[in-house]
C-alpha cells in the first residue's frame, strides 16, 4: 500500500520564498561598496582573531634585542617595540582581544537586554514603565563612569572590562527590544499563540523574539565597534588587558613613552583600531538600511 503523501508544494513555495529573500538581500548588499569593504575588513579581523598565526610574521611575545625600537622594514612591517617584539604580529594577535571583548560584551548586553526588553514590552502597563525607567537611568548614566565603578569594585583585568562594557550595553538593547516588542505584540500570530494557551516564555522567545532581531543585529554591529574602542581606552589607562598580552590599547599605552622618537609604534595600532571600528560602524549602517527601511537616514 502506498503511503499517503502530503502535498510538497507549500513547503517548496516557502523554501523558494526564503531563498529568494536571502538572494535579494545578498544582491542589495553587493551593491553597497561601503558594506562590501566593511565586511572584508571585519572578515580579515576575524581571521586574525581566530588563526593569528596565519597572518602574523613573528611570535608576538618573542623578544629580540637586535631589533629594539627598529623602524618599519621588510623584517618588521610595523617596526619593533623597546623589547624588539614585532609590532605587526602584536597588532594581529591584539585582534583576538578586541574581538573577544566586542563579542562577549555585546553578548552580555543582548543576553540581559533582550529578555528584559521582551518582557517589559510584552507585559506593558506600570511594570513596563518601572522596568524601563531603570533602563533609562542606566542609559543616562555616563558609560565610562559606570564601567569605571564596576572595575573599581571588581578589580582590573580583561574579564572585568568585558563585564563592565556588557553592563553599559544592557540598556541600549533593552530599549531597542522593548520598542520593537510593543509593535510586534500587536500582530495576529501573537494573539493566535495566546489563544492556543502558549505560556509567556514561549510567546516571548518563539514568536516575538525572532521578529525583533533585525534592529538588535544592527545595534550589535555598532556595539562591537563601541566595545573595541572602550576596551582599547580602558587597556590604554592600564585597567584592562595586562602586559605582556597584546591588546591594541596596551600597544598604544607603551607607545606613548616613545612618541617623540618612534612615532610609528603609536600610528599603526591606532590606524588598525580606526579601520576596524569604522568597518563595524559602516556595516551596522548598511545592515540597518537593508534590514529596516523605515530607519533609513534616521540619523
Amino acid at each position: 500500500m502506498r503511503e499517503p503523501q502530503t502535498d510538497p508544494a507549500p513547503w517548496q513555495a516557502w523554501e523558494r520564498r526564503r531563498f529568494s529573500r536571502e538572494r535579494e538581500f545578498a544582491r542589495r548588499f553587493r551593491h553597497r561598496p561601503a558594506g562590501v569593504v566593511s565586511l572584508a575588513i571585519v572578515l580579515l579581523v576575524l581571521v586574525a582573531a581566530i588563526i593569528p598565526g596565519l597572518i602574523a610574521t613573528h611570535d608576538p611575545n618573542a623578544i629580540d634585542g637586535a631589533a629594539t625600537l627598529s623602524e618599519p622594514s621588510w623584517e618588521h612591517w610595523f617596526g619593533a617595540d623597546r623589547l624588539g617584539r614585532d609590532t605587526y604580529s602584536r597588532v594581529v594577535h591584539g585582534a583576538r582581544t578586541a574581538l573577544l571583548v566586542g563579542l562577549i560584551a555585546v553578548g552580555i548586553g543582548v543576553g540581559v537586554g533582550l529578555p528584559y526588553g521582551l518582557l517589559a514590552g510584552y507585559i506593558g502597563g506600570r511594570k513596563d514603565e518601572a522596568m524601563m525607567r531603570l533602563m533609562d537611568a542606566l542609559y543616562a548614566y555616563p558609560a565610562l563612569l559606570l564601567a569605571l565603578i564596576v572595575i573599581a569594585v571588581m578589580g582590573t583585568g580583561l574579564v572585568n572590562v568585558m563585564i563592565a562594557i556588557g553592563i553599559v550595553l544592557v540598556p541600549v538593547y533593552a530599549r531597542i527590544v522593548r520598542g520593537s516588542t510593543l509593535s510586534a505584540k500587536q500582530n495576529d500570530y501573537v494573539l493566535a499563540a495566546e489563544a492556543m494557551g502558549a505560556g509567556t516564555p514561549r510567546i516571548l522567545f518563539r514568536h516575538i523574539a525572532p521578529n525583533v532581531l533585525a534592529p538588535v543585529l544592527v545595534q550589535a554591529s555598532l556595539g562591537i565597534g563601541f566595545a573595541i574602542i572602550w576596551e582599547a581606552a580602558l587597556s590604554f589607562l592600564g585597567l584592562g588587558t595586562q602586559p605582556p598580552d597584546p591588546s591594541w590599547g596596551t600597544l598604544l599605552k607603551s607607545a606613548q613613552r616613545f612618541l617623540a622618537t618612534n612615532a610609528w609604534l603609536a600610528v599603526f595600532p591606532g590606524v588598525t583600531i580606526v579601520l576596524t571600528v569604522l568597518a563595524f560602524n559602516l556595516l551596522g549602517d548598511v545592515l540597518r538600511d537593508l534590514l529596516d527601511p523605515r530607519l533609513r537616514g534616521a540619523d
Binding site: 565610562l144 569605571l148 564596576v150 574602542i229
Partner: protein
Amino acid sequence: MTSYIVQRLLATIPVLILISLITFFAVALLPGDQAIALLGLEADVRQLEAVREQLGLNRPVVERYFHWVYDALQGDLGHSVRADRAVSDLIAKRLQVSLELAILATLIALTIGIPLGLLAGSRPNTPFDYGGTTFAVLGAAIPDFWLALMLILAFAVGFGWFPATGFTPFLDDPVENLRSLVLPAVAIGTGQAAVLARQTRAALVEVLRQDYVRTAYAKGLPGRAVILRHAFRNALIPVVTVFGIQVSTVVAGFVIIESVFNLPGVGKLLVDSVFQRELQTVQAIGIMLAVGVALTNLVVDVSYAFLDPRIRYA
C-alpha cells in the same frame, strides 16, 4: 511654558534618585570587599575590621544608602582613606581643570560641528557634503585618546606649539593655561563635532524639504536667509537633543584625556582612585558627574521651550 519647566524639574527628581541608587548599589552589591580592596589580601583581620567600621560597612546596606544620600546632600561625599582627606576637598581642588577643559571642548565641538553640518546639509551631494560626511564618519571611529597622541605628535613634538603634558593654572598665566588645554580640548571636541555635524546635516536636509522653506524661497528670499532664519532654527531642535546626550561623552572624554595629558583634573583623580580602589572617591566622583550630566540634560530640555514655540505656547 512655566508648567513645562516645572514638569521637567519634577521629572528630574526620580532620575536623580535612580542615579544615586545605581552609584551606591553598583559598589555595594557587586562582588568585592571594600576593606580588602583598600588594604590588600595580606591585611590583618583587625585592620580590615577597623576599616569596615570606619567606612560603616558593617551596617545594613539600605541604612548605609540613606546615610550616604543624607551626607551627600549636605556636601559630605565621604573620606579618602589613602589621602586622609575629605573626598569633597579632593574634588574641589581639581574641579576647575575639568570644567575649563569641558567648556573648551564643547566650544570647539560647536564651532566645528554645527557650521560643517550646515554646509553639508545645505549643499547635499556636493563635495562639501561628502567632506562633511567623511569627517562625521571618521570622527565617530577615531578614539579620542589616539587622536590625543597624534595631536601631541604633530603639534607638541613636531611644531612645538603646545606643551605635550602638564597644566598651568589660569591665575598663574592665562596664556599658558590656554596653551596647556588646547590639545586636550581638540582631542575631546573633535569626536563631539563629528556627531553634531552628522546630526545638523540630517536635521537640515529634513527641514529643507518642508513647505515653509519652499514658501520662503518662493517669496524670493536669498538662500542664506532661508537657511539661517527659517531652516536652521527648526533644525536645531534635534541637534540640541543630541548635544544633551553628548554631554556624557564629554565627561568620558575628559576622564581619559586628562590621563593622557597628565592634567590634574577630576578625571585623573577618578582613574587614580580606580587603581587604588578608593571606592568612596570613585562613588563620589561617579555621583557628582552623573548628576552634572542629568542637570545639563535638564537645561537642554528647558531650552526646547525657547527654541520650539509649540512647547512655549502649549
